[in-house]
Amino acid sequence: MQLSREALLRAYRQMRVIREFEERLHVEIMTGEIAGFTHLYSGQEAVAVGVCEHLDHEDKIISTHRGHGHCLAKGCDVGMMMKEIWGSREGTCKGKGGSMHIADVAQGMLGANGIVGAGAPIAVGAALAAKLDGGGRVSIAFSGDGACNQGTTFEAMNLAVVTKAPCIFVFENNHYSEHTGWKYAVGTGSDIAGRAEAFGMRVWRGDGTDFFSVYETMRDVLEHVRGGNGPAAVEFDTERFFGHFEGDPQRYRGKGEIDRLRKVRDCLTKFRTRVTGADLLADGDFGRIDAEVRDLIEKSVSEARSAARPTADDVLSDVYISY
């Protein structure tokens, strides 16, 4: 099925926002202004966007430590996210959470998460709520190739199967969990989807560096899950362009690996080549979006820099609703 011009423009813009956001953070972090651990999503944009373009705020997602892309794709505010990463009290979480804990439950974004494997069980609960409420809503757990080895992920998959929860386990296989290769850590001959299938659900596989592969795969997955057929899992083969966290020496990479990935596995380049090749969008469309997104990120950074800082009193609020 052909996407409309508007849908194509929006998908590209979303991916570009994530890329620009992350590439800018990569530069800003080196200045020492941003505190804490930051895990960048560059390279994986097609997955977040290809999944979330099918969703609205009533569908739920839960993310990981590498959460910026999922948050942005699900509709979290760019400026507030940037402020959160800067630790401002005007940020998404008032500066209390930072990069690893950005959340916007009203948008159906149940949070980035610092504990690997914590998301999948929570996604099952959100899926059960969706089932109780009716209306064909789904819940999606994003997990990595590393998180797929966590017992919590296994338990969540089985629980989703036995309760027929409308839950989708999206595995982003970027081939690394921190410094370890997936070929070593995933015991099933590096097949994550096959393992999910053994839990008793239908599975799909797609190219996580190709927006159209993700988008079209997800159309089928969502039709299946929204149709009341229980959970499903998808494995997207994708790439992480930066280190595990900012500051990672990346000695596990092969020689020239990142240059090669950026050349042949860049979802933005692939999108552009395919869409201009088919005369769906023109170079001018991309140029316009690129400039607009650059301005947006520039503005969000300068606003984050001068945004209000939290004070010592803020430490004590938000622990409870009443106490």
Binding site: A35, K96, H101, G146, G151, T180, Y252
Partner: protein, 336 residues
């Protein structure tokens, strides 16, 4: 003596014990790094660089890089220990005890008692704890509060490289399960470490500073803060006895009580939240056994009863600091 960093002292003790005893086995996430990658093994040697070079020396059977599976890591260590080995498991961050608490608490900590004293489970669970890196609520916690309350576990909190070496060596040789808490902010600190093989017995505190006026009890990163406070106050004639507990289970009650009997004033400094904690435990101890010695009410310097916040301003407001400890000491000295 050799000058080395806290993290090097960890590696040093692991290396020496692995060389001495072939039953010492390491397991944990990325303790080798690079497994299954083009870059090849030993890409990292633990994210805190505490197992650098061990894989190359002792090989994959004794240095086991694991998938992200904390329950299985601790459970497997327990099984190894019940089968005659001496595993040293690493949790990358202490916060991840949440994932594997059953294995630590219901299994490892209880085997000996439940099995009528007829078995032993000699294993060490090392973990990096503590705040100061703006790593927020799930990567900054001090978990000794939780683990010290669990019968069957010994809990060690070294504050210097020399203590790391002696206490980790003791932990590995100890026949009981030991929780070994390494403070992230101390890894790059350095100090003199005695050459060769030595152990430091559990339950013996270290007197980091001696003074007659106030007893300050601390662990881990907090010890250095207290030492600097003692050094600041000494020229004013305020003498601080700074007690570095070294282990919170067993607890050197005698060192605390003896000191309080002399000073009559107690400040407990703890990086963990204030409720049901090491700080309250020591306060209760002194309240029961040295009440008559106290000249003034005792004081605790702890974070508030909140999760650990992210932003720089918030984290520093949250954490105990030398300034906050100094203010507490001055206040207790001025009390009448």
């Amino acid at each position: 003596m050799a000058k080395m960093m806290y993290r090097e002292a960890v590696q040093n003790a692991l290396f020496a014990e692995m060389e001495r005893d072939e039953n010492v086995i390491l397991l944990g996430e990325d303790i080798v790094g690079g497994m299954g990658t083009d870059g090849g093994p030993e890409a990292i040697g633990g994210i805190w660089s505490t197992s650098v070079g061990l894989f190359g020396k002792f090989g994959p059977d004794r240095v086991i890089d694991t998938p992200i599976s904390e329950s299985a890591i601790i459970g497997a260590a327990a099984g190894l220990a019940l089968s005659g080995k001496r595993p040293v498991a690493e949790l990358m961050f202490a916060d991840f005890i949440g994932v594997c608490l059953d294995q630590i608490w219901n299994q490892v900590g209880k085997f000996r008692y439940m099995f009528g004293g007829k078995t032993k489970c000699p294993m060490v669970i090392r973990m990096a704890y503590g705040a100061g890196f703006n790593a927020a609520a799930q990567h900054s916690q001090s978990v000794h509060q939780i683990l010290t309350g669990m019968p069957g576990l010994k809990v060690v909190m070294p504050s210097t490289p020399a203590d790391v070496k002696g206490l980790l060596t003791q932990s590995i040789r100890d026949d009981d399960p030991v929780i070994f808490l390494e403070h992230k902010a101390l890894y790059a600190s350095s100090g003199e470490v005695p050459e060769g093989d030595y152990t430091i017995p559990f339950g013996h505190a270290r007197l980091a500073r001696a003074g007659q006026d106030v007893t300050i009890v601390a662990t881990g990163l907090m010890v250095g803060f207290c030492e600097s406070v003692a050094d600041r106050l000494a020229p004013e004639g305020i003498g601080c006895d700074v007690i570095d507990l070294r282990t919170t289970s067993p607890l050197d009650e005698e060192a605390i009580l003896d000191s309080v009997e002399v000073t009559g004033r107690l400040v407990v400094v703890d990086e963990a939240p204030p409720r049901c904690s090491l700080a309250t435990d020591i306060a209760a101890l002194v309240g029961q056994k040295a009440f008559a010695s106290l000249k003034v009410p005792l004081t605790m310097v702890t974070p508030p009863h909140t999760p650990i916040p992210f932003a720089r301003e918030l984290e520093s407001a949250y954490l105990p600091s030398a300034d906050k400890i100094e203010a507490a000491v001055r206040k207790i000295m001025a009390w009448r």
